[in-house]
């Protein structure tokens, strides 16, 4: 890259102008931190809600029900009003963590922008797992996409990518995709789910029924056919029954993965369970001057949750700038044991404050409980009835006394329903 056209310095640089990044930035300004820059690679701020054309957004933040785009606009307005320097169309290409200030190189249409910052917050969000990473078989024609892309077609570009898609998955986002399809007059031919029942609670499955979309459980794709565009999909049920469904698209929903490429490039420790950067209870990554917030930490949670978490992380960063956070070392490790997909934060340091709760996800349906062991000693037991892709909280204070590493698992008797879709590969 030729020499930078612009060099700036900031107290805090935030990467990602979605709900978590914008709320962290706004909070930092409210707490009197002078120079807060938010960069986002997109041309518009607001993150994923920009293309979620449906409510409900914003109850917690603005006290009323908004659509995604309206919510995104208000988040941006509030941040700018608070004095946040918002740089759009700005792609972070590297983070240099050597001594002194952190140095962030960005590519923009006007040339290279270099920002030196005392602290960084990574809030790069999540995306759904695409067809390739699911290793799905068949042809590779047009018309195979994730819900995120469908929403962009419909709400940003006003285009239809298909008229008769097959929908894969039964997470919440699959239900939202039914509404998005409705918006363009598309009629999904079926929803399929690898597990024996829906990932969302059973009651929510009234929606596909209402819309006349048949749902098939214990069903997986074995072949996708189509020379230019999808023409048919062959599915196989657990009992071995194979049949071919005519359709002109395949919508792959859910199976969210953190957009953690930047965290990885910056050399941060990545948690294999969550797929995002590992943090302590103050949201500090393995480089303690770099924090992380929002769905890049925990695939996936709501915009409102990410907003609230971003606000909290803004407070931690402000405390850190004031020298009020405890040392990042020594820390104990929190490890996801049998039945648990991930636990966030992954480390706890001694000291007051930080996130009130640990966030966890279970691999399967659970009706027993959560158990935490420090070595062989049971230090926490908590009743639990939940399923995969649902937020589980455990109070951080319950682990404050631990002196060694802790493993958190599902108590022996977790119900083994025949779910195989939860891993999404």
């Amino acid at each position: 890259m030729s020499g930078p056209f612009d060099v700036r310095s900031a107290d805090v640089l935030i990467v990602g102008a979605g709900p978590a990044g914008l709320s962290a930035a706004t909070r930092l300004r409210q707490l009197g931190v002078a120079k807060v820059i938010v960069v986002d690679r997109e041309q518009q701020g607001g993150g994923i809600p920009r293309h979620c054309g449906h409510p409900p957004f914003g109850m917690r933040e603005f006290g009323r029900v908004l659509t995604g785009p309206a919510y995104a606009r208000k988040l941006v307005e509030r941040a700018v009003h608070a004095g946040v320097d918002l740089q759009l169309g700005c792609s972070v290409v590297s983070i240099d963590c050597s001594d002194g200030d952190l140095v962030v190189a960005c590519a923009t249409n006007r040339g290279a922008l270099t920002v030196t910052a005392k602290r960084i917050v990574i809030a790069t969000g999540v995306r759904e797992r695409p067809r390739s990473a699911r290793l799905l078989g068949g042809d590779r024609p047009l018309g195979i996409l994730n819900t995120g892309a469908l929403q962009e077609y419909v709400y940003l570009e006003r285009l239809a990518p298909f008229r008769r898609p097959l929908i894969v998955g039964t997470e919440l986002v699959a239900l939202s995709s039914l509404l998005t399809c409705r918006k363009i007059g598309a009629r999904p031919v079926a929803m399929i789910e690898a597990g024996s029942h829906s990932t969302v609670r059973r009651a929510s499955m009234a929606l596909p029924r209402l819309l006349g979309v048949p749902v098939r459980y214990e069903t997986e794709i074995v072949d996708i056919e189509g020379r230019r565009r999808v023409e048919a999909v062959t599915v196989r049920a657990r009992d071995g029954r194979v049949d071919t469904i005519d359709c002109d698209g395949v919508l792959l929903t859910g199976c969210f993965r953190p957009e953690a490429a930047l965290a990885r490039t910056a050399g941060l420790e990545i948690d294999t369970g969550s797929g995002g950067p590992a943090i302590d209870q103050f949201a500090r990554t393995s480089e303690p001057r770099i924090f992380a917030a929002g769905n890049v930490l925990h695939p996936v949670d709501t915009a409102g949750w990410s907003w609230r978490e971003g606000r909290k992380v803004g407070e931690f960063v402000a405390q850190d700038l004031a020298g009020k956070l405890p040392d990042a070392k020594p820390a104990i490790k929190l490890t996801a044991g049998p039945g648990i997909r991930y636990v966030v934060p992954q480390r706890l340091v001694p000291g007051e404050g930080g996130f009130e709760n640990l966030q966890l996800r279970a691999d399967n349906d659970v009706s027993s409980g959560l158990v935490a062991y420090e070595g062989n000693a049971l230090i926490r037991k908590q009743a639990l009835s939940t399923g995969p892709e649902r937020r589980i909280l455990a109070p951080t204070s319950a682990f404050a006394g631990a002196r060694g590493d802790v493993t958190i698992s599902i108590d022996g008797e977790e119900k083994t329903s025949n779910r195989s879709g939860s891993e999404c590969v």
Partner: protein
């Protein structure tokens, strides 16, 4: 209707190199392609390795074409702005049986004039590639094997051919033809085209074209499918050489290599099939390829998969190239060009031009060729986003700019379909596979393709 000197059928790797060679030699060229863009058939799935020919049959036309093609690529690549990743390759023996074959591989390499090969002990392998599985017993190092861009060279060749008056017709399938003793009239899906000589570079359909127009084919295409898995860019830090297996009688085997785009590629499989159109992937095979890669480089276990694809190679019932001159019919068949065709294409074009000249054809070669520079797609060289004024970045995973997209959709050889746009820019090929950019690309390409990304408006 005017009569061209040659009609080349097929705009794959061989057809594009052929069009360039004949245009440079001064022939008036027409190129007929059934797909909507160049590289629509077998060529699009090539594994992007520039081979030295160390393991090709000694004395074969294939070896000669590979070595000529290799030399010419290195000579011209700078002027076209074509990249080269000088990786070198290791033929690794994992079993005692394979180890016993290394002597023969080394001897054959020397026989083929690849004299800088040498043996690596297990210890030397480890010091060169510390992340390779410790099960590697011994290897032959072939320093001249390199990684290139699988697609841009052919865009460059075809652009140069066009600069020298070649005409290219896409969506043009040759249906029938008649030869009147001096020239061919070819009936195609886009009307009639006339040329004195026909060069059949129709790849997977080469035998059918011969049968259709000459009445018989002297060979039979036996499509051989190869599936590939592409790993995330983080994987490319794990090793540098191309890791080759000890080949079997039938295939070169599964290769593990970095790509010019900064990823890691494992493949291909070798699966015989009848179908010439469908190159499907299947879950079990993809899983086993990923597992195979992790056996070779354990650090690849659990690595994110960026892309999967499959290609068909136009194998025939014999291993050798099927190049045949039908002198009385002004027809040259260039068939059975398999995986070595990427390397050999420039050499094949020279070879075929010589055969054509021997038939008594003469032209005035272009005195000062115009050499178009193609956009760089290689990750290790300067990309478009590094220069201001790119508009915006459309594909964030692969850092593809609006300026690149717009250029690929205009000019002398605009992309004819979405695959063509991807091959010209890398858009949508990254880890999110279009989660973020597919919809915007639908808008940007509206009206450009016969098969548009969107089926209609939202309303």
């Amino acid at each position: 209707m005017s009569v061209a000197d040659v009609a080349i059928v097929g705009a794959g790797a061989v057809g594009c190199a052929m069009a360039r060679r004949f245009a440079l030699e001064g022939a008036r060229v027409i190129l007929l392609e059934r797909g909507a863009d160049l590289l629509s058939g077998a060529s699009k799935g090539n594994s992007a390795i520039l081979h030295t020919g160390f393991d090709a049959p000694p004395g074969s036309v294939e070896l000669q074409c590979m070595q000529d093609g290799y030399a010419e690529y290195l000579e011209i690549r700078d002027s076209f702005n074509l990249p080269l990743l000088e990786t070198g390759a290791m033929v690794v023996a994992w079993t005692e049986g394979e180890r016993a074959a290394l002597d023969g591989i080394e001897a054959q390499a020397r026989k083929n004039g690849v004299s800088n090969v040498r043996r690596l002990s297990a210890g030397e392998i480890r010091s060169r590639e510390p992340n390779l599985s410790t099960r590697a017993l011994e290897a032959v190092l072939v320093p001249g094997e390199h990684v290139i861009d699988p697609w841009s060279p052919f865009l460059a060749y075809l652009l140069q051919a066009k600069n020298h008056d070649a005409e290219v017709f896409f969506n043009t399938e040759v249906l029938s033809g008649s030869f009147d003793g001096s020239s061919w009239a070819l009936k195609t899906t886009s009307g009639e085209h006339r040329a004195r000589t026909v060069i059949n570079c129709a790849g997977l359909f080469g035998d059918r074209l011969d049968a259709r127009l000459l009445g018989a084919a002297s060979f039979q295409i036996k499509p051989r499918k190869g599936q590939f898995v592409v790993f995330d860019k983080a994987a490319s830090k794990l090793f540098s050489s191309i890791i080759l297996p000890v080949p079997s009688e039938r295939t070169k085997g599964v290769v593990l290599t970095r790509t010019i785009f900064g990823n890691v590629l494992v493949g291909p499989t070798a699966e015989e099939q009848e179908d010439r159109e469908r190159a499907t992937v299947d879950t079990e095979t993809l899983k086993s390829l990923a597992a195979k890669a992790a056996e070779i480089v354990p650090g690849l276990a659990g690595m994110d998969v960026t892309a999967v694809y499959a290609g068909l190679r136009p194998a025939t019932e014999e291993k050798s190239y099927r190049i045949a001159v039908h002198e009385d019919r002004n027809w040259i068949t260039v068939g059975g060009i398999r995986s070595t065709g990427l390397t050999a294409s420039l050499g094949i074009a020279r070879h075929v031009y010589k055969l054509y000249a021997k038939l008594g054809n003469e032209h005035q070669a272009v005195a000062s060729p115009i050499t178009p520079r193609v956009p760089n797609l290689a990750e290790h060289l300067a990309r478009d986003w590094q220069a201001p004024g790119f508009g915006e970045i459309v594909c964030h995973c692969e850092m593809v700019t609006l300026r690149e997209i717009e250029r690929a959709l205009s000019g002398a050889l605009p992309a004819g379909d979405f695959g063509g746009l991807r091959r010209r820019t890398r858009c949508g090929m990254g880890r999110c596979q279009g989660f973020y950019c597919n919809a915007q690309l639908a808008t940007l390409t509206a009206g450009c393709f016969g098969s548009p990304l969107a089926v209609g408006d939202a309303a």
